[in-house]
């Protein structure tokens, strides 16, 4: 062997790539441990019956079902539609009521004789 040692041709890693990988590695490790912390339940609460609503016991499904925001919203929406349409329909009632009264005033009043009016507009008399 000669005195001069030759190092092999190796394409190394860029510093930046190493740095990024390190950061990602540390982050994932940290996050995974942080996530796994969620599994940490006090051992005494394991396999215990929780009869309260908060504990998911009896009646919890009722409270959940009674507080679904989307259903609550739907019903509020129909209430609003009821009020809006109700107001609109009332306007229509009054509008027609008034129109009917005007039209009624144009008609021959009960007991009124207007014989000549019939002949005047060219209609045939019976």
């Amino acid at each position: 062997m000669s005195g001069r040692q030759e190092t092999p041709e190796v394409s190394g890693y860029a510093r930046s790539h190493v740095a990024i990988s390190a950061v990602v590695g540390i982050l994932v490790a940290g996050l995974s441990v942080w996530w796994a912390q969620g599994f940490d339940i006090f051992y005494e609460s394991l396999y215990r019956v929780s009869p309260t609503v908060e504990g998911g016991g009896i009646g919890a499904d009722w409270v959940f079902g009674n507080t679904i925001p989307s259903l609550d919203f739907l019903i509020a929406l129909v209430h609003a539609a009821d009020v809006l349409m109700g107001a609109f329909i009332l306007v229509m009632v009054f509008l027609h009521w008034a129109a009917f009264r005007r039209l009624a005033d144009r008609m021959r009043q009960p007991g009124e004789e207007r014989g000549e009016a019939v002949a005047a507009d060219g209609g045939e008399q019976r």
């Binding site: 009821d82 349409m85 009332l90 129109a99």
Partner: protein
């Protein structure tokens, strides 16, 4: 001069309208006997209590779906239905008709717009197939009936709904939704009864919806002279119109307002923690008002039947007139008008 107006409904339409009316009235009477059960306790009792009312509601519900599907199919497959589709689309004329109606109410217009005219008279040629109110009725009732049928089917078996949402309480939300949705139609039908029962020229019922077009002779004026008016001034006002229209107008308003107020307070979802009797404020005024609303609908049902009685009488009269000359056995023949 009782037949100045052109009929607008075909025979099938008159029949469909009567059946739909009967079905919807029964759905109202049973459905609101459930929703307003403390105000309409007697109605609940009359129709067989809780089980009777729900049974009638379900049977008429099936009937409603059958009627809706029948009508949709008929409108699609028949040339008449397809041809009429463009006639029911609202346009600028309909908005103008509404504006002119407001002006007519205030005395700033002399006539109702052709798109608003219920009594067409001499000007029948100007009047479209449907007035702006008629178009509104078609659209609003179509949407309402579709949503009511779907939500009604969803609450048909509440256990299925409870399973879908994995909770019992959610089923109640759909029952409430169904009931509140029907309130719009309930109020609309009250207006519909007033509109078509109390027009002074047609009082007590507009026969247009009951006597088919094919049976109504058309009046055509002389070509050269175009009449200036609809001719309403030649009709005599019924002596009872003023009193009855005032009473019924007031009842309609009271009924609509009461049902609306009742629907706001009669909460079903979220299901309240405390057991409230009837679920809302039980006031004597509201009780009377909601019963007035049911009375208005009851009058509507009676008027619908009366319309059919008129149609039968009309048919008989037409038949007698047709058979008149043929049946002569040497008797005197009545001189005919035309």
């Amino acid at each position: 001069m009782s037949n100045l107006d052109h009929g607008k409904f075909t025979r099938v339409t008159t029949l469909f309208h009567s059946l739909l009316g009967l079905d919807v009235f029964l759905l109202f009477f049973t459905g609101y006997a459930i929703m307003f059960n403390d105000e309409l306790w007697w109605l609940l009792a009359v129709m067989g209590g809780a089980s009777g009312v729900t049974a009638i509601h379900r049977i008429t519900g099936i009937g409603l779906i059958a009627l809706i599907v029948f009508w949709i199919v008929l409108q699609i497959i028949s040339p008449t239905g397809r041809g009429n589709f463009s006639e029911i689309l609202p346009g600028k004329d309909d908005f103008d008709a509404f504006v002119q109606d407001v002006q007519f109410m205030l005395g700033r217009a002399d006539e109702r717009h052709p798109n608003a005219r219920q009594f067409a008279g001499y000007k029948a040629d100007e009047v479209p197939l449907l007035s702006y109110i008629g178009k509104g009725v078609v659209f609003i009732f179509s949407i309402e009936l579709t949503l009511l049928a779907i939500s009604g089917l969803l609450i048909w078996s509440k256990t299925g709904l409870a399973a879908m949402f994995q909770t019992k309480a959610a089923a109640m939300a759909f029952v409430t939704f169904h009931g509140l949705l029907g309130v719009i139609m309930l109020m609309g039908v009250m207006f519909h009864v007033f509109e078509h029962g109390f027009h002074p020229a047609f009082y007590p019922v507009e026969t247009k919806a009951f006597i088919p077009r094919s049976m109504v002779p058309e009046y055509h004026s002389d070509e050269d002279e175009e009449p200036d008016t609809t001719g309403i001034e030649r009709l005599s006002l019924s002596p009872s119109w003023r009193t009855m229209s005032s009473i019924f107008g007031a009842l309609t308003v009271i009924g609509i307002v009461s049902v609306l107020i009742g629907s706001i307070f009669d909460e079903g979802y979220p299901v309240p923690r405390e057991l409230a009797i009837g679920g809302g404020p039980t006031s004597i005024l509201l009780t009377i008002g909601i019963n007035v609303g049911i009375l208005v609908l009851g009058v509507g049902l009676v008027l619908s039947m009366y319309g059919n009685v008129l149609r039968i009488r009309w048919e008989r009269q037409m038949e007698e007139e047709r058979e008149g000359p043929a049946a002569t056995d040497g008797g005197r023949e009545e001189p005919s008008d035309d």
